[in-house]
């Protein structure tokens, strides 16, 4: 198994590692995977008033491909609107990192993570607007 | 002292320097081809390169190559792993095929498979069968008509296994042209080291290939067709030997001149000498010939004392004093079969080796003549 330079770069110098306060209203948190399966991704987005993702952070328990996939998506979602971010597909991630076939599931997990973070953000927002009404 | 003249290359040939070098580079490194770390991946790369080289030697593709511990295991794997219960084997096969049992396909006085007989055998029984015939015989060097055998067998829905252990590296072998379903190779017969061999199964793993099943279990190496940590150095040497053998094929063909020189000289010395399979297609390096009136065992001992290594038959029959099954199948008289030695030249044989052998032969034969003379005088 030969890994691409991009993948190795994201693994060795992961971008946006860290955590945001998950209790804040403008933060969406996605936690996907399971320890027993060998992969857990936590991906968080911070969305500004215009619906643009101004910050993203991740933490990942998993193989190099899982770490690189999550690092890559945090880079990609920054500056995008929530709707644009939800367009990100696992195939894009797999292609960008040249993931070997046995590692495609890592890109799927990263896609799930971003979707879960957006869903969390949206549900927070709707409950907040309901509360405001 | 003169260097020992080795003329038993069909038993095992001198390891080629390329093969030694390839094996050495593995011995001085470390790595299990199944490990995922760098040494493991390097080991796998070496293995896959060798696989390609071996495929190229027989004009096959790398995916068709399954590495084994040698020719005998490859033959066993083909016979048992192909899943056919009915088996037909030629009467001149190597013991690793013959001892597995099966119906015998007869050969003519030259040791060539009787094609009509094979056709009949397959005609009257439609149990899915495997036909196993060697490409070239280890004792006589006879080349069997594999293409015809394949045509007949396939017409009757039978698979064909071809033991090409003695042929590969000596004559061109073309997987596609010959059309068989399984083929065995051995490293140490082409200038690699003993301990490595291969089964070639065209289309293995695809719908067109035969449905091979491994006989050893556990580990999953070689896609499960042959498990166990691979003999990496042996495989690397096998690959290098295959490359060298392929580029040396035209030189090997020239050995026929040396072989013919031996036979011509000996027939001049002793016109009664019988050379088996002389008039049919043979390997360029092999001569199976009699010294009338002198036992093969006596000959090999005398030659060894004279610093020449030849054999009285196949190395695997372990020197037991019995006549060769191959010659028996060819209906050779007991007397002729008893007085036979096999001379087999190799990639490093020289004209001077031939001279040494012919001289020793002349000397031994004349001792017999004088013995005979003395006896009749007495």
């Amino acid at each position: 198994m030969a890994y691409s330079d991009k993948l190795l770069d994201h693994y060795e110098n992961p971008r946006n590692v860290g955590s945001l306060n998950k209790d804040e209203g403008d933060i969406g948190t996605g936690l996907v995977g399971a320890p027993a399966c060998g992969d857990v991704m936590k991906l968080q987005i911070k969305v500004d008033e215009d619906g643009i993702i101004e910050d993203a952070k991740f933490k990942t328990f998993g193989c190099g491909s899982a770490i690189a996939s999550s690092s890559l998506v945090t880079e990609w979602v920054k500056g995008k609107t929530v709707d644009e971010a939800s367009e990100i597909k696992n195939t894009h991630i797999a292609q960008e990192l040249s993931l070997p076939p046995v590692k495609i599931h890592c890109s799927i997990l990263a896609e799930d993570a971003i979707k879960a973070a957006i869903a969390d953000y949206k549900s927070k927002k709707s409950s907040k607007s309901r509360a405001a009404e | 002292m003169r260097k020992y003249v080795y003329l038993d290359h069909n038993a095992t040939t001198v390891t080629r320097p390329e093969a030694i070098q390839a094996a050495m580079s593995i011995f001085s490194s470390v790595g299990n081809p199944s490990s995922v770390h760098k040494p493991g991946r390097e080991a796998r790369k070496v293995m896959e390169q060798a696989r390609t080289s071996i495929a190229e030697l027989v004009n096959g593709s790398a995916e068709d190559v399954v590495f084994t511990s040698g020719g005998t295991e490859a033959n066993n794997l083909a016979l048992i792993g192909c899943g056919r219960t009915r088996r037909l084997v030629s009467a001149v096969e190597h013991s690793s095929v013959l001892n597995g049992g099966g119906e015998i396909i007869e050969v003519d006085e030259n040791g060539v498979v009787d094609l009509d007989r094979l056709d009949e055998q397959l005609l009257f029984d439609d149990t899915p069968a495997l036909v196993s015939v060697m490409l070239a015989n280890n004792e006589t060097g006879v080349i069997e008509p594999i293409k015809d055998i394949v045509n007949i067998a396939h017409r009757h829905g039978a698979l064909v296994h071809c033991d090409a252990i003695q042929a590969a590296g000596k004559i061109p072998v073309d997987v596609i042209d010959l059309g068989f379903d399984l083929m065995s190779l051995s490293a140490h017969k082409i200038g690699g080291a003993a301990g490595s061999g291969a089964l070639i199964a065209p289309g293995l793993g695809s719908e067109t290939g035969c449905n091979l099943k491994g006989t050893l279990l556990g580990g999953g190496q070689e896609r499960g067709y042959r498990v166990g940590t691979e003999n990496l150095a042996g495989i690397a040497g096998f690959g290098a030997a295959a490359n060298a053998a392929l580029s040396g094929l035209s030189d090997f063909a020239k050995l026929a001149k040396l072989r013919d020189a031996i036979e011509t000289a000996i027939k001049m010395i002793e016109p009664e000498t019988v050379i088996f399979s002389e008039d049919v297609k043979r390997l360029p390096n092999t001569s199976c010939l009699t010294m009338p009136g002198t036992d093969g065992d006596t000959q090999v001992m005398a030659f060894d004392l004279a610093g020449i290594g030849v054999s009285a038959g196949s190395a695997c029959s372990s020197g037991k004093a019995k006549t060769s099954d191959v010659l028996k199948a060819m209906n050779v008289s007991n007397e002729n079969a008893r007085s036979v030695v096999r001379v087999s030249l190799g990639w490093n044989s020289k004209a001077s080796d031939v001279e040494v052998f012919v001289e020793a032969w002349r000397e031994l034969n004349s001792r017999k003549s004088s013995r005979r003379f003395n006896l009749s005088a007495a």
Partner: protein, 412 residues
Amino acid sequence: MSMTKGNWSKDTPLYLDYQATTPMDPRVLEKMLPFFSERFGNPHSRTHQIGWDAESAVEVARAQVASLIGATHKEIIFTSGATESNNLALNGVGRFYKDKRNHIITCVTEHKCVLDTCRHLEQDGFEITYMPVQQNGLINLQELDAAITDNTLMVSIMAVNNEIGVIQPIKEIGALCRKKGAFFHTDAAQAVGKIPLDVDDMNIDLMSISGHKLYGPMGIGALYVRRRPRVRIVAMINGGGQERGMRSGTLPTPLCVGLGEACELSEREMGVETERLKMMRERFYTKINERLDEVFLNGDLEQRIPGNLNISFAYVEGEGLMMGVNDLAVSSGSACTSASLEPSYVLRALGVEEELAHTSLRIGFGRFTTQEEVDYAVEKIANEVTRLRAMSPLWEMAQEGIDIKSIEWADH
């Protein structure tokens, strides 16, 4: 701090995977070399001195193998490796005695080739008992005693486990087998040359040996088959009748010579080497525990070969860790199954939870491991574990006092 890598260079990773395969000892190679070139003969050629020379070298090697395990040379059959030896032992005995007894006992942590062969025998009408292991990886002798019946043909228990390095109570198992009249086969691929073994003292009837696990070459192994009282086996590879009919095929002279020499070296140096490796292992284990919390050893510490550690670094996934320490050649799970990267079945059998099984590394020390290398490896692993924990959501939760078991994880 500055870290030198001692006598290994940057482009060859530091090798700490001695249970997958061992580098060949240069002294072994030296003995083998002539048999590749001027002494190239076929050991079964009985008609000339080139063949006799090869044959006598093979017989010397056979005696060297026998000596290491207290056997006689006639009880050693050369094979292509331990996988073949294990297949031959189980199938060979099974097929010969099938009509007399058809129960075989083995253990859940055996090598794949033993387990797969047992499953195959099961389909052929054998009854197989798969013994569990205790938390330390060792089988329970009382349970084994209870499992052996009048119908038990053979007990096959490995001497040393390839993943966790634990040593099974071989002598006690041998005694139980002898008492009950069952054959005792042991896969000793990881044990031969590492711990003292004596087939008579331990009542072993069949023993599988591998060349490349004891500084010999790949592609060669042996099966010990007891002659008194005689154990009969049916051959799996037929042909020229070599190895007294039990295993046909031209013997690879250089490889046989290599295995023989490797055995002799091990026999001579085992004592010193054991002490040295114990020190290495202790140094590694102590230092790694000084550097890191939540480090768990898998398998018994005492009943263990000196060259093995199997450690779970909680909250850090093993494969990801391997990528970070890629100038170390270590293994996560057994080499034979690592292509699949499933959590190790051996660790699962010990009751190690799946999440911890995913965090394990096997670190193998051997003849050529230096103290400097051990220190480098500790630093490297400790740094990388620390880095990866900092980006592990599970570590974060643990620090916050969240029990990860309390979370409902999705299956995937």
